[in-house]
Symmetry: C2
Subunit: 236 residues, 2 copies
DNA sequence: CGACTCCTTATGTGTAGACATAATAAACAT
DNA sequence: ATGTTTATTATGTCTACACATAAGGAGTCG
């Protein structure tokens, strides 16, 4: 036989759903001041604790603006937020069912060029490891990784040859990080990208740039250039 | 006189900070299985409720993987997540201290072209409003907005002329949404972009594309092309 | 050996109650 | 009128406790 009622208590998820619905389709238009938590809890038949959690999470979704004493108000324009989870490339590729491949194209140790020193805040004559790697999905070039590692902060990097394990995977397993800066940008394909990805010179390339610090010392800067037509998409 | 101790109870934020520290700099390396909530709560001198919240939030930061019965484990590679908050353009521009400007370039009502029908799931001969607008920061073109509005779902759009208020602001104030898809991509500058933004033909342009549905009906599709050199950046 | 059941366990979530804190509003003093 | 204190109030968070639920693991049966 079919059972419907799984429980009698009102869960915070149900409350959330109802609140979101009232905001997006119902009586709580932009700017509305909601009743207090106590009153709402009473109406929904749940405890204030539960109502508090529901409101907090809806607020984190970007719909509500909450202030002590002032109360809970529906945002005039909901904050559109795009949240991208960026696992290591290997996982990203394997998740699509494709076979992951990796190739080290170049490796050199040198004194950090000026632009890099400025970008990461390195001191003069800082030594860095520069790597160029390619990640494949089912044998097709998927992502070109241009990475700089601060050898001063991470001397171990000098001993790694990165011929079989990508620097990304090595880094996440080796060093923690305390601060990260991620940028998305459109760049023009340069000679290196043309050589390894399916691009013509000057083609628009979707790039992700990520800089990482640990305890105020720069660890690494990486630019990930993607294959032709790549989009970063999120849906909710 | 200076007071230090504000409270005696351990707050979930303090617990969070300590947990993150133990993960990033301390004994809890990648893969570590943490003690259970009860045990941790005892160690930290807080209730399990508080410990639960702390662990839940650290988990949302991408450091922990929690499963019933299996326990809480430190992720092998912390999930790098980029979270972008995208307010309406006006706010984005005004937040930088610049003066916002708006101009409607073109407005037409037509039957949805095939690619759009496919993209949004419109039915045959659906009528749409097509708009082309420009957003300025201190008089300089900042963003080119290419928007399509499904007139079937939103007949009011036919009456709006959008000469002074941008469709974005009008939409967020008028219709709710239930589903959103956001993509970031790199496109080649076309003639329209060249005419209005500081681009040469074929230049890489950073674009944001956003499609919105409400109750399973497509509402709008917009492509936002940004000025030369634009980057979307987040830091944490 | 494999498939099934049942028990155990760690997290997930709900409740009631209390105190903390921020921010507004009212009362007060200058 | 203006600046300052004080009260009020809605949200923020902690506690102790209880039950729900998912999933690993042991035991059982063919």
């Amino acid at each position: 036989m079919a059972e419907i009622a799984k429980h009698e208590t009102t869960t915070f998820r149900e409350v959330m759903a109802e609140i979101v619905q009232r905001i997006t389709e119902g009586p709580w238009g932009p700017g509305t001041l909601l009743p207090g938590e106590v009153e709402l809890a009473e109406e929904f038949g749940c405890s204030r604790t539960t109502m508090n959690r529901a409101l907090r999470e809806v607020s984190e979704l970007g719909f509500l603006d909450r202030k002590r004493k002032a109360g809970t108000r529906v945002r005039m324009a909901p904050i559109r937020q795009a949240r991208f989870e960026m696992p290591v490339v290997r996982s990203e590729i394997e998740k699509t069912g494709a076979i992951y491949g990796y190739q080290l194209l170049a490796r050199e140790v040198l004194v950090a060029p000026d632009w890099l020193r400025g970008r990461l805040g390195l001191k003069a004559r800082a030594r860095v490891v520069h790597l160029l790697c390619l990640h494949f999905a089912d044998g097709v070039a998927f992502q070109l990784e241009d990475r700089w590692i601060n050898a001063g902060a991470l001397p171990m990097a000098l001993e790694q040859n990165f011929s079989t394990v990508g620097p990304n995977e090595w880094l996440v397993a080796t060093v923690p990080f305390s601060e990260v800066e991620i940028s998305f940008l459109a760049a023009a394909a340069d000679a290196v990208m043309v050589a390894h990805l399916d691009h013509a010179l000057g083609d628009p390339v979707f790039c992700v740039e990520r800089a990482t610090w640990w305890q105020n010392a720069a660890v690494t800067l990486v630019t990930l250039a993607h294959r032709r037509g790549y989009r970063m998409t999120t849906r909710y």
